[in-house]
C-alpha cells in the first residue's frame, strides 16, 4: 500500500491538473467546474474524524493521481478479457475512451440517446452545463466535487417517455492503465422518461497490474411511473481503487431497483443515495460484496423519503475472507411529509476468517409518525452444525463450505429478476469462490 502523503500536496496536485486541463478555457462549463474545484479545495479530502469516513482507510488513494485523458490507447486486439451478454446492446469504454469496435448500439429504440461525454464535451458542452445547473448534486460527496471539476469521460443516456417495451443496455467501463497511477474521472447522466422501463447493467472491470483510481459519479433520474433496474458490477483489478457516488432521484410512482455487486479492487467505496421525491415511489436497494486479501469494500447508502406512501426495501449481504474489511452504513431518512412510509433494511455479513472484520451501522432519522420502519444487521460465521450435517452425508468439508457460502449469497442473487443478468453475476460470483478455494482440504 502506498504511504500516506500530506493531503495539501494532493489538493495542490488536483488544482494543478485542473489548470492543465481547463486552465485555458472560459466557457460556462469551466466556470461551473471552477466552483466545484474550489469546493473540493475548501472541503478537503475526507479524514477519519468525519462520521462518514470513520471506518474507511483511504490511504491507497491519498496520492497524486494524474487524470487520464480519454484516447485510443487500447483496442479489441489488446486481449481485453471481460464477460458480457452478447445479444444485448452495449456501450464499451476502455480507459474512458468510447470504443466502437467493442460496442454494439445498433438496436437502440428511436429517440433514445446514448452518447459518450467526451463527444458531448466537444460538441455540446452547454447541454452538460444546463444539466449540471438544473440538478446540482454536489452534496453527495467531496469526490463528486472533484469529479465535477475534472470529469472528461462517461455516458449520457436519455430514454424518452412512454417507451413501448422494456429496454436493456450494458454500460461497460474497462480500466487497463497504460501508465502508472492514473485516475479516471467518469460521469454518467441517465434520464428516464415517464412510464418507460429501462434496465441498465453497468460493469466496471479492471485489468492489468497498474495502480489506478476510478472516481465515478452517476446521476440517474427516474420519471413519473418509470420502472428501472440498475445492476452494477464492480470487478476492479487487485490494484484498482474505485470511488463511486450515485444519486438516484425518483418521481411519483416510479420504481427503481439497484443491485450493486462488488468483488474486486483494493478499495471500493460506494455512496448510493435514493431520493424518493414523489408519492408512491418505490426504491429497492440490493447489494452483494465479496472481499478477501486486504480489500476494503465500503457501502454507504442513504434513502431519503420526502413524500408520502413511498416504500424502500434494502438487502445487502457480504462475505469476507482473509484480512478483508467491509463497511455498511445504511441511513434511512423519513421527512415530516413522508407519512405512510414503509422502509426496510437488512444487512448480513458472513466472516470466513478470524481476521476479517465488518462495521455495520444502520442510521434511522424519522421525522414523521405514521411510518413502518424495520432494520436488522448480523455478523456471523459458517454454522458448524450445518457444516457437519452436509459432511455427514459424504460431502467434503471444502465443498460443504462452498455450498453454504453460495447459499448465503443466493438470497441477494435471487432478487435479480432477469435470468440472463442473474446468470452473468452468478458466474462471476462462482469464479470468485473458485479463485479463493486454493486452500487445503481440511
Amino acid at each position: 500500500m502506498p504511504k500516506p502523503t500530506d493531503t495539501s500536496k494532493i489538493l495542490k496536485h488536483y488544482e494543478h491538473e485542473f489548470q492543465r486541463l481547463y486552465g485555458n478555457s472560459n466557457g460556462s462549463l469551466t466556470i461551473l467546474r471552477r466552483t466545484a474545484m474550489d469546493k473540493f479545495l475548501t472541503t478537503g479530502l475526507p479524514t477519519p474524524k468525519q462520521e462518514d469516513w470513520r471506518s474507511t482507510n483511504l490511504n491507497s488513494i491519498m496520492q497524486a493521481y494524474p487524470v487520464a485523458s480519454p484516447k485510443a490507447e487500447l483496442t479489441y486486439f489488446d486481449d481485453l478479457d471481460f464477460e458480457y451478454i452478447s445479444n444485448l446492446p452495449r456501450i464499451v469504454f476502455v480507459n474512458g475512451y468510447y470504443t466502437a469496435e467493442l460496442s454494439d448500439l445498433s438496436n437502440l429504440p428511436e429517440q433514445m440517446r446514448v452518447n459518450s461525454l467526451t463527444y458531448l464535451l466537444k460538441t455540446d458542452p452547454e447541454k452538460l452545463t444546463r444539466r449540471l445547473k438544473q440538478y446540482p448534486s454536489d452534496d453527495v460527496s467531496v469526490f463528486t466535487s472533484l469529479n465535477t471539476a475534472l470529469f472528461n469521460s462517461g455516458t449520457w443516456i436519455e430514454i424518452p417517455d412512454n417507451l413501448p417495451e422494456s429496454f436493456t443496455l450494458q454500460l461497460i467501463n474497462i480500466t487497463k492503465p497504460t501508465a502508472e497511477q492514473q485516475s479516471y474521472q467518469l460521469r454518467n447522466f441517465i434520464d428516464i422518461g415517464e412510464n418507460s422501463q429501462f434496465n441498465l447493467i453497468e460493469q466496471n472491470i479492471g485489468l492489468g497490474t497498474e495502480t489506478y483510481f476510478n472516481n465515478i459519479v452517476t446521476d440517474l433520474r427516474a420519471g413519473r411511473n418509470a420502472t428501472i433496474k440498475y445492476t452494477r458490477i464492480q470487478n476492479e483489478a487487485e490494484t484498482g481503487n474505485h470511488i463511486s457516488s450515485t444519486l438516484i432521484t425518483q418521481a411519483a410512482d416510479s420504481q427503481v431497483e439497484s443491485m450493486v455487486v462488488s468483488l474486486g479492487g483494493q478499495l471500493i467505496r460506494n455512496d448510493l443515495e435514493f431520493k424518493l421525491e414523489g408519492a408512491g415511489a418505490t426504491g429497492n436497494l440490493n447489494g452483494l460484496y465479496l472481499a478477501r486479501g486486504n480489500q476494503l469494500i465500503d457501502n454507504h447508502t442513504v434513502i431519503d423519503h420526502t413524500h408520502p406512501e413511498c416504500s424502500s426495501n434494502e438487502l445487502y449481504k457480504g462475505i469476507l475472507d482473509d484480512d478483508s474489511h467491509a463497511v455498511f452504513n445504511g441511513k434511512i431518512i423519513v421527512q415530516p411529509d413522508a407519512q405512510k412510509t414503509d422502509a426496510r433494511q437488512i444487512n448480513r455479513n458472513l466472516l470466513l476468517s478470524e481476521k476479517a472484520r465488518v462495521n455495520t451501522n444502520p442510521q434511522l432519522e424519522i421525522y414523521a409518525d405514521d411510518v413502518k420502519c424495520a432494520h436488522g444487521s448480523t455478523i456471523g460465521q459458517l454454522d458448524s452444525d450445518a457444516l457437519f450435517y452436509l459432511r455427514s452425508r459424504g460431502i467434503t468439508a471444502r465443498v460443504a463450505q462452498t455450498l453454504m457460502i453460495e447459499g448465503f449469497a443466493k438470497e441477494v442473487l435471487e432478487t435479480i429478476a432477469d435470468e440472463t443478468t442473474r446468470a452473468l453475476i452468478t458466474n462471476m460470483v462462482n469464479d470468485w469462490f473458485v479463485n479463493g478455494n486454493n486452500g487445503d482440504d481440511s
Partner: protein, 250 residues
C-alpha cells in the same frame, strides 16, 4: 459390522458416556432407549463423527478398521448414516442439489460412476414417493421451513437415497403423527435387508411395534444398563425406568 468397546466420552471434562459396549451385525436392528440426557445422541454423534467430544477410553471399529480415525464424510462414504434428532436448516442450499452432491460424493469415493442430472432426477422422484413428500420439497432449501414431521421424512429420504450399510435413527419417530410414523416405519422396513444394520433410538414402544427389533438396550447415565428382547420395550412403556436406576452391570 460395528463394534463399540468400553467407550468413554467426555465433553469439556464432563464424562457423558461411561463405558459403552455394543455390537451390531449385518441384518440386525437394535433399539436404544433411555432417559433424556442419558447419552443416546452423544453415542450417535460419536459414530457419525461430530467434533467437540473427547474419547478418553475404548474403541469403535467398523468392519475391522478404527472408525474414530475417519472424517465425517469418509464415514458417510463408508456407509454410515445418521438421521438427526434435530435436522439442520441450510439456508440457500437446494435440497435436490444437496442430495445429488451427497450421492455423487459417495459414489465417487466408492469408485462408482456419478449420476448425471437426468438419472438423478428419475431416481429421486421414485424415492420421494416412498416417504410421501411432495416433489416441491426437492426445490426448497434443505429443511428450510419444513415442519418437524417433514424434516424427519426428509431424513428418511436421504437414507433410502444414500443406501447406507448402518443407519442410526435418532428419535426419527419423535413428533410424528400416526400416518407419518407409519411412513417412516415402512421406509425403514422396506429398506431392511441381510446386509444392513440399524440403531433405532426412541422413547416409544410404538415405533418398535412396526419394526421388530432384534435387541433392545436401555441407557442410563452414559451406560447401557440392560439389554434384552422386545418385551423390554413393553416393560419400559408400562413401568418406566425407575426399576433400572441402579446400574446392574458395567
Amino acid at each position: 459390522m460395528i463394534e463399540i468397546k468400553d467407550l468413554h466420552v467426555s465433553v469439556e471434562e464432563k464424562e457423558i458416556l461411561k463405558g459403552i459396549n455394543l455390537a451390531i451385525k449385518p441384518g440386525e436392528l437394535h433399539a436404544l432407549m433411555g432417559l433424556n440426557g442419558s447419552g443416546k445422541s452423544t453415542l450417535s454423534n460419536i459414530i457419525a463423527g461430530r467434533d467437540g467430544y473427547t474419547v478418553t477410553k475404548g474403541s469403535v471399529t467398523w468392519n475391522g478398521q478404527d472408525l474414530l480415525e475417519l472424517s465425517p464424510e469418509q464415514r458417510a462414504c463408508e456407509g454410515i448414516f445418521m438421521s438427526f434428532q434435530y435436522p439442520v436448516v441450510i439456508p440457500g442450499v437446494n435440497n435436490m442439489y444437496f442430495l445429488k452432491a451427497a450421492l455423487n460424493a459417495q459414489r465417487k469415493y466408492n469408485g462408482d460412476e456419478e449420476l448425471d442430472a437426468m438419472d438423478f432426477l428419475t431416481l429421486i422422484k421414485e424415492k420421494i414417493k416412498e416417504v410421501k413428500l411432495d416433489e416441491s420439497f426437492l426445490h426448497r432449501a434443505v429443511n428450510d421451513g419444513f415442519s418437524g414431521g417433514e424434516k424427519k421424512r426428509n431424513e428418511i429420504l436421504q437414507m433410502i437415497t444414500l443406501e447406507p450399510r448402518l443407519a442410526i435413527l435418532d428419535e426419527t419417530d419423535s413428533g410424528l403423527d400416526i400416518d407419518a410414523l407409519k411412513i417412516v416405519a415402512e421406509g425403514v422396513n422396506n429398506f431392511r435387508n441381510a446386509d444392513r444394520g440399524f440403531l433405532v433410538i426412541t422413547h416409544y414402544q410404538r415405533i418398535l411395534n412396526y419394526m421388530e427389533p432384534d435387541r433392545i438396550h436401555i441407557m442410563i447415565d452414559g451406560r447401557i444398563v440392560k439389554s434384552g428382547g422386545r418385551n423390554l420395550a413393553q416393560k419400559i412403556e408400562e413401568q418406566g425406568y425407575a426399576w433400572l436406576e441402579e446400574p446392574v452391570t458395567v
